[in-house]
């Protein structure tokens, strides 16, 4: 049996060895054969209707109507309360989703394949900014947009990606880091690089000019388009790290608006949960803390692989945007996260830190020892469903998750 340090080195090695490629867009039912009728996958650790926050419930009601499982929102709510839907975490089915993160059978999912290990991860296409389902939006406009994504954008993207032979993501991320992105709150560079790479394939494979214009316009207007791809990439990189005996490295961090959950390599698929914390940040004009929804989304998977808050030093502009201090102090965050990480990623380096690699592989032992919880750059949703994003900030993973995980991890090694 290898030592904990050896196991963690193996965990880090697997993350660094990953070769994530955006290979396709396919309907969820095709990507996830177990995704049955009336099954709703959500962000975060397991949760039932009764404990869901406002935006999550709003999204559930909307998706039920979208999939034809209810005639209207009220009907959807009654069905949900009556237990007509089966709720499961995205993570249990190889998927991730931002904010409410709902994944259901007919939605097109982007497919990222980790060529090194052969595993795949999925994420829906980013709806854009404003009143969208991931913030709990569920009115006619939201559902119309989802239908357009299902019928037009999804298939178009799929054709383009297949025609291109797939988009290798590691080098794209590396470039984005040198251009001010951290892949959680700031994805504009990666979104632009992606569109630049895909545009010719989109043009070649589009059915008509009108469709091409609509797709280019939709993608081009969304600074955060790449987020969902980064998330699927994060899961594709982290999944091969699961189940390494004696490894104390985190394989998933995720929130459902009520609970924050983590999974640790050496303790398998167990979730260690604690109440989510409130993000601390700045609010768009007209909004304040009293409007904020608690922390939500599978997007913390990007911090799990060294990006987002961990790569803050690459994105000084984000520091001000999330109200975390002076841009010149961005490196302090990354250095702090380096204290709880196994090691740097030599492929993803930050010029402002003399090309230090992003701190990768969160070690729960170091989190508990230092009390330094992972920091996550996050959008802040309005607590009422459907209003949208009201701000951005930093949220910390609750220490209790790591403390509980440490006790369980120690048990696996016969230590009490």
């Amino acid at each position: 049996m290898q030592t904990i340090d050896q196991a963690n080195q193996e965990a880090l090695r697997r993350i660094l060895a990953g070769d994530p490629v955006l290979v396709d867009v396919v309907p969820a039912s095709q990507a996830i054969p177990d995704l049955a009728d009336r099954m709703i996958l959500h962000a975060g650790p397991p949760i039932g209707w009764d404990r869901m926050c406002g935006p999550m419930r709003g999204a559930v009601m909307g998706i039920a109507v979208f999939e034809g499982w209810a005639k209207d929102l009220d009907d959807a709510a009654k069905h949900a309360a009556a237990g007509s839907f089966a709720f499961h975490p995205n993570h249990h089915f190889g998927a991730v989703g931002p904010m409410t993160g709902l994944t259901t059978a007919s939605q097109p999912l982007m497919v990222v394949e980790n060529k090194t290990f052969g595993n795949r991860a999925y994420c829906a296409i980013n709806e854009g900014l404003g009143k969208v389902m991931r913030f709990g939006g569920n009115d006619a406009d939201v559902l119309t947009r989802l239908r357009w994504i299902r019928e037009v954008l999804g298939p178009a993207l799929g054709r383009a990606i297949r025609e291109s032979g797939g988009i290798p993501l590691k080098p794209l991320i590396a470039r984005g880091l040198t251009m001010g992105d951290e892949m959680h709150q700031r994805n504009v560079a990666c979104s632009s690089l992606l569109l630049r790479q895909l545009a010719p394939s989109l043009a070649r494979t589009s059915k008509d000019a009108g469709e091409l214009v609509a797709c280019l316009d939709f993608i081009g207007r969304n600074d955060q388009f790449f987020l969902n791809i980064a998330m699927a990439m994060g899961k594709a990189l982290a999944d091969p790290v699961r189940d390494i005996a004696a490894s104390s490295v985190v394989t998933a961090m995720s929130r459902n608006g009520t609970d924050f959950g983590i999974r640790v390599s050496g303790t398998g698929d167990r979730w260690f949960t604690a109440p989510v914390e409130m993000p601390v940040g700045i609010y768009f004009p007209g909004f304040s803390e009293k409007d904020a929804n608690p922390d939500m989304g599978d997007s913390a998977i990007v911090e799990t692989v060294g990006l987002g808050g961990f790569a803050m030093a690459a994105a000084p502009a984000v520091v001000g945007y999330i109200g975390a201090g002076r841009a010149s102090e961005a490196a302090v965050f990354t250095r702090s996260m380096a204290e709880i990480a196994v090691g740097p990623n030599p492929a993803w380096t930050i010029p402002a830190m003399d090309f230090a690699g992003v701190p990768t592989g969160i070690d729960i032992r170091l989190v508990v020892e230092t009390g330094l919880a992972p920091i996550i750059n996050t959008g802040i949703a309005h607590r009422e469903p459907g209003v949208g994003q009201v701000g951005a900030g930093i949220v910390k993973a609750p220490l209790r998750c790591f403390q509980d995980a440490l006790v369980a991890f120690a048990e696996t090694l016969g230590v009490e």
Partner: protein, 63 residues
């Protein structure tokens, strides 16, 4: 957590000391003022003072 690849000279007196200062910051400040090589550790009780968790961490160090 051992770092067996951390190479170090066992000779204490052969060259000016390169110091890891853990605890009172004033000592690190003084060493820096003197031009000595020092890295300061902002120490606080392991596991925030939780004796059970600190004990687990210590036992896990030998695994």
């Amino acid at each position: 957590m051992t770092e067996k690849d951390h190479d170090v000279s066992r000779d204490l007196l052969g060259a000016p000391p390169r110091v890891i200062n853990i605890g009172l910051e004033i000592f690190a400040v003084n060493l820096a003022d003197q031009g000595a090589q020092v890295a300061h550790v902002r120490w606080s009780p392991p596991a925030g003072g939780n004796a059970h968790l600190a004990g687990l961490l210590e036992k896990l160090q030998r695994k």
